[in-house]
């Protein structure tokens, strides 16, 4: 019908539109993904968010006694919660509770009850032991079991045995609670080193090692 037969066009109209729409969609998606990046704010490691480090003093975490330095006589076979307290750049005391995963569990058992796999040289005299109080499963704060058999997590009833390195004795947690090396200096309990194994929420040893380096550099 048409008198002028079109010279075969290099690209059909349909193809052109498809390519144009495809490009727009691709560019749009990429830009949206980059916008998603802004949803994730930058993390700054301030002193109140640093993990317990060498030299930190352990203080009470319970509401009524918060910030008071823990004495040996405060401890028993009932869990006592503690925060590590360090210093900021100006030398002021900072309770490191900006990171809620820093909460610690302290116990004092009669000598001889603490056994392997507890790292005994990281306890005070084989009697006082400190663990991360954060369940390695989903990060709830672990409490004493109401049955009197160790510690129980209120979230999905994970169970730990604080006399045996807080190894998992029931429920879903994948790892024991991390033990924190401590020592007695005067009448204060003082952190001797980083957690002996990776604490919640770390998932890989490499990340935990990297984080320890980062903290050491920041403090140096």
């Amino acid at each position: 019908m048409t008198r002028y037969k079109k010279q075969d066009p290099e690209i059909t109209r349909r193809k052109f539109i498809n390519v144009a729409m495809g490009t727009t969609a691709a560019v749009g998606t990429v830009s949206l993904v980059s916008a998603l990046g802004t949803a994730n704010p930058v993390f700054r490691l301030t002193p109140d968010k640093a993990p317990p480090v060498k030299g930190d003093v352990l203080v009470h975490a319970s509401e009524s006694k918060e910030g008071q330095i823990i004495k040996v006589s405060d401890l028993s076979d009932q869990l006592v919660r503690a925060w590590p307290m360090g210093k900021d750049k100006d030398g002021n005391n900072v309770i490191r509770k900006g990171e809620p995963n820093n909460i610690l569990a302290l116990y004092r058992f009669p000598k001889g009850q603490l056994v392997e796999p507890t790292k005994l040289d990281a306890t005070v005299n084989g009697e006082i032991v400190a663990y991360s109080d954060i369940c390695t499963h989903a990060g709830c704060s672990v409490a004493d079991s109401d049955q009197g058999d160790g510690m129980k997590c209120p979230c999905h009833s994970g169970q730990y045995d604080p006399k045996r390195g807080c190894k998992v004795i029931g429920g879903p947690p994948p790892r024991p609670l991390a033990q924190l090396p401590i020592k007695l200096e005067g009448d204060q309990l003082v952190v001797a080193d980083f957690f002996a194994s990776m604490p919640y929420p770390f998932l890989s040893e490499t990340e935990w090692e990297k984080f320890k380096k980062e903290v050491e550099e920041q403090l140096a």
Binding site: P41, P172, L203
Partner: protein
Amino acid sequence: MNQWLDDRLHISRLNDKFLRKAFPVHHSFFLGEITLFSLIVLILTGILLALSYEPSNSLVVNTFDPGTVTKPNLVPAAYHSALKINAMPFGDMLRRVHHWMANIMVAAAVIHMMRIYFTGAFKKPREINWWIGMLLLIFSALTAVTGYILPYDNYAYNTVKVVYAITGSIPWVGEWVAQAAFAGKFPGAGIIPRIYGYHIMLLPGILLALTGAHMLLMIKQKHTQPQYAKRVAYKKIVGVPFMTQQTPIMLVLALLLTGLVMLFAAFIPVHPVEFFGPPSTTPINNIKPDWYLLWVFGALAIIPSFEWHLFGGLIGAEFVGALVLPGIVMALMFAVPMLDRTTEHQYYAENPTNHPVRLAAGVAFFAMMIVLSVAGYKPELISSGLLTTGNANTILWILTLLVPAVSYFAVIGIVRGIRALREADERESLAHAHADD
């Protein structure tokens, strides 16, 4: 005035198309409507709450208990505003109605879905609406969970902590996704504003859009007809028109529902923020999610711990229990219309007992959900002495598999038995009829 409007807007066409839609008269068809009315009440009460709620987790002085000048009593602003809402005239009531209605909405949606499933209403051509319904169910649950977090008391804090951890358990990308979704490393300074945005903008928007699509498809495809319609007028649409017969029924239903929920709310408190107190490191004993997520919670409680490393990612019990398992359950539910191979269009709601396998599978499915939910009470079962720490997981696992299996065969058996009896009866009465001749 009608004429004036009609000239300009062609209202009469709207009337023909939508307002005369026939509604089958059967009580089971009200379940979807109840879900819809709950959504409307939720939006209305939600707007009222949003007028007084302060979406921020920065610390402010608790004006109800200011502490001392040197040691002020600081609580998150969101928690403080929930206390203030409670102190307003009818404020606590408003929170309770909103919260109860959220439960009613999910419950109505679940029962509505059971109706659709057991009567075969999901079959061709209504598969798309089944899928939209599934999305509605999922997004309602998400909306309710985000709402739960808003008062930011210790309960909410512990809930969001677990939600964050579950998000973080996705292999490879989990931590990044969790930080992006919850505004930074938990508990980020922006976590409440972020969740507030989800709860009152993003998720209700999605819910409204899905609900609109659900309704339009329903109008386009028409309800399945209850069995009586077959007898009244075969292959004709039977029912009362939306305008004006169905509207008063709906109004009565909506008002009755709201009234009942208000009555409920007046007597049964919900989520007492004062009781739980502001976020703290003291754990809450036996913390539980809302009932419709209890099965996931139960599965998490009885899954043994394991970790499996794969290409630098970590696949753990938490990921499997809280995301993979519900994912499989959801996928099964999504697949329901595809398991049916009829090519005919479905006109009539089916009698569930005519499809024993479907009925039995559905019953077994719900039985499993219920057993898993009971497993969520594992700590209580242990402290009550019914189970011991040693045998709890084994027994609960056996029940999780056994109870559904037993209910499956029991249902099939009962249905077959009833049918055999009925057929025997018919044969007998036929024989007698002949004898009478």
